[in-house]
């Protein structure tokens, strides 16, 4: 039996009157590419933020890389990589400076830092943009750079919150190649999206609506669960969205 990279039990988060995530139970294995799918406001981002220790759960537990988020949120940080929805790097630093900064923050020093940065640069093909200010990069390059910064410390679990928003199709395709590469080397990747073609590239997906888990399984299984036999993910998504709006 493989180890769970992430396991949640009744994970719940309330904001004032709104319950953003309600009694979420998930088990994600090591090396999976796992998609969190759902319309805006379905609780995807809140879930990821709780798993990263950025938000405290109101109820329930989550264990990430063997560590309970409620007990030791700080210890989790060295084991996870995170790319937030909005570009979170320093736009007034160059690509190389951002990599150097995050490498340093993750505890890499001098030779080890230089080696690891050049590995990541080679892996993601960042070489031609290293001297450019991050703020001047296009969406695709920003996303690559952000992924690079999140990979420097070789995280066990990588969280990507709508990583391909504002990225052109070719760059999206390249990005997904990199994601699958990482998963093949043992990294667990958890990604939120509302692009159906992206969801289809995940090993398993969890469909969320109004903070609840609606369906779980491979993309084909989820489509079948929501729509019925022969349904597509897109149909499933539209049905869920209509349900959420009514």
């Amino acid at each position: 039996m493989t180890l769970a990279a992430v396991e949640t039990r009744d994970l719940t988060r309330r904001f004032a009157t709104l319950t953003a995530v309600s009694h979420l139970n998930l088990r994600i294995d090591e090396g999976e590419v796992f998609g969190l799918l759902g319309p805006n406001g379905s609780g995807k981002t809140t879930t990821i933020r709780m798993l990263c220790g950025l938000l405290d759960p109101s109820e329930g537990t989550a264990v990430v890389a063997g560590i309970d988020v409620r007990v030791a949120p700080e210890r989790i940080r060295q084991h996870i990589g995170y790319m937030c929805q909005r570009f979170g790097l320093y736009e007034d630093l160059t690509a190389a400076e951002n990599l150097g900064f995050y490498g340093g923050i993750y505890g890499l020093r001098e030779a080890a830092l230089a080696t690891r940065v050049s590995e990541v640069v080679a892996l993601l093909g960042l070489q031609p943009r290293l001297g450019q200010l991050a703020g001047q990069l296009s969406g695709g390059w920003k996303q690559r750079l952000a992924l690079g910064c999140a990979l420097l410390h070789r995280p066990d679990v990588l969280f990507l919150d709508e990583p391909t928003a504002g990225v052109d199709p070719a760059a999206r395709r390249d990005f997904w190649h990199m994601i699958h590469d990482l998963a093949q080397h043992g990294t667990t990747v958890i990604v939120t999206t509302h692009y159906m073609d992206e969801a289809a590239r995940c090993g398993r997906i969890a469909m969320m609506s109004g903070g609840h888990l609606i369906a779980l399984g491979t993309p084909a299984e989820v489509a079948a669960q929501v729509v019925g036999p022969g349904g597509t993910l897109e149909d499933a998504f539209i049905i869920l969205q209509q349900r959420a709006e009514s």
């Binding site: 996870i80 909005r86 979170g88 790097l89 320093y90 400076e97 150097g100 923050i105 993750y106």
Partner: protein, 370 residues
């Protein structure tokens, strides 16, 4: 715990250098302010703390001292035995004026032609010293009129008050304004720059990516303020050099000691800014809170108006501002040339502010998004 301080420090340093506008403003502000305040600012102070050396201890001398007190300008805080004890009290800032009545005062008064008393004022504070000087000569004149009226010809002796301004014998405003301005400029810029520090990262969306890393709160906070400590000391140098060259303000004391204490004060101001940054949600709010904070610093710290003249409540509020204590250090070292023996209380208070504020800022800051 401190290992990630360096990458944070380097990053902040690069960003500081790249933000040319802010850096320009920080270097420009001291110059503009100095020229404005130095040239433009050229008002009766009551209850000036006063030390008395009454060598004669006679009804006549007590009468005279009572006359000083009755003007309302002088408040006797101590009677001391000799001139050196009086000097020490003024050095430490415990008193701002001294009255010396010589042992032969009654005899000189009886025989004439004149009885001289000495009034020493701490002229590092021009408002206070001006009013002390005019009050002292008023006392002498009133005495003389009284003596004349009591019986013309019975005695011809006049009371003469010799006023000796100490530390700033020329009673020059720049000598008073420039050291104070060092503190005011440091307060404004240091608080403002770090008040933006955390909230700017929040607004730009970089905080979310940063707090998901293993960096500790202390590393983050120290890394944020460290580059600006250098900026603060450069600002101080700029004002001191300009003050020396353009306004001929003396540098009497140990400049190294001044820099050491300034370092503590800069850290306190930066930490206060960081605390503000953890309390507000937007850069706009940070700016408003900082400017709101600046006003009491200018009015209540003793920079423009002597604190002795203020109601006690305002004196207490003033004591809560790091600047109030740093001003004593600035004037003490620059004008009086005093050492750490006269300033240790201020050093202790500033250290307490630095440590207290940075601890508060670290405790207020949470590595979560809510």
């Amino acid at each position: 715990m401190i290992a990630r301080f360096w990458p944070m420090f380097r990053k902040e340093f690069i960003q500081m250098r790249r933000d040319r506008l802010t850096l320009g403003i920080m270097i420009g502000i001291p110059v503009v302010q100095l020229l404005l305040f130095g040239f433009a600012i050229q008002t009766d102070v009551r209850n000036l703390p006063t030390v008395v050396v009454d060598e004669s201890r006679t009804p006549q001398s007590r009468d005279l001292i009572a006359a000083f007190v009755n003007t309302g300008n002088f408040r006797i805080v101590a009677h001391v035995d000799d001139r050196s004890a009086l000097d020490r009290a003024i050095d430490r800032g415990d008193a701002q004026a001294g009255i010396i009545v010589p042992y032969d005062y009654p005899r000189a008064l009886a025989r004439g032609p004149s009885a001289t008393i000495q009034v020493i004022v701490d002229a590092s504070d021009p408002l206070a010293s001006q009013s002390a000087i005019s009050a002292a000569s008023a006392v002498a004149q009133v005495r003389n009129l009284e003596l004349l009226r009591r019986g013309a010809g019975a005695t011809t002796a006049r009371v003469e008050a010799r006023v000796r301004p100490r530390y700033n014998p020329g009673l020059r405003s720049p000598n008073y304004i420039v050291p104070g301005l060092v503190g005011v400029i440091l307060t404004i810029t240091m608080v403002l720059i770090t008040a933006m520090a955390i909230v700017r990262e929040r607004e730009r969306g970089t905080l979310e990516q940063l707090i998901v890393t293993p960096i500790t709160k202390t590393e983050l906070m120290l890394g944020k303020i460290a580059p600006y400590v250098g900026v603060g000391l450069i600002q101080m140098t700029a004002v001191l050099v300009l003050g020396r060259v353009v306004f001929d303000v003396p540098l009497t004391g140990n400049v190294l000691l001044l820099y050491a204490i300034a370092l503590i004060f800069v850290v306190a101001s930066l930490s206060l800014g960081l605390l503000i940054s953890t309390l507000v949600r937007t850069q706009q709010q940070a700016m408003q809170v900082s400017f709101f904070f600046v006003l009491p610093n200018i009015l209540l710290s003793g920079f423009m108006f002597p604190r002795q003249a203020m109601p006690v409540v305002f004196q207490w509020i003033g004591a809560l501002l790091p600047l109030t204590h740093f001003l004593k250090v600035l004037r003490g070292i620059l004008l009086k040339g005093v050492g750490v023996d006269a300033l240790w209380r201020e050093v202790v208070v500033l250290l307490a502010f630095s440590v207290g504020l940075i601890v508060l800022a670290v405790r207020r800051f949470h590595k979560t998004l809510d």
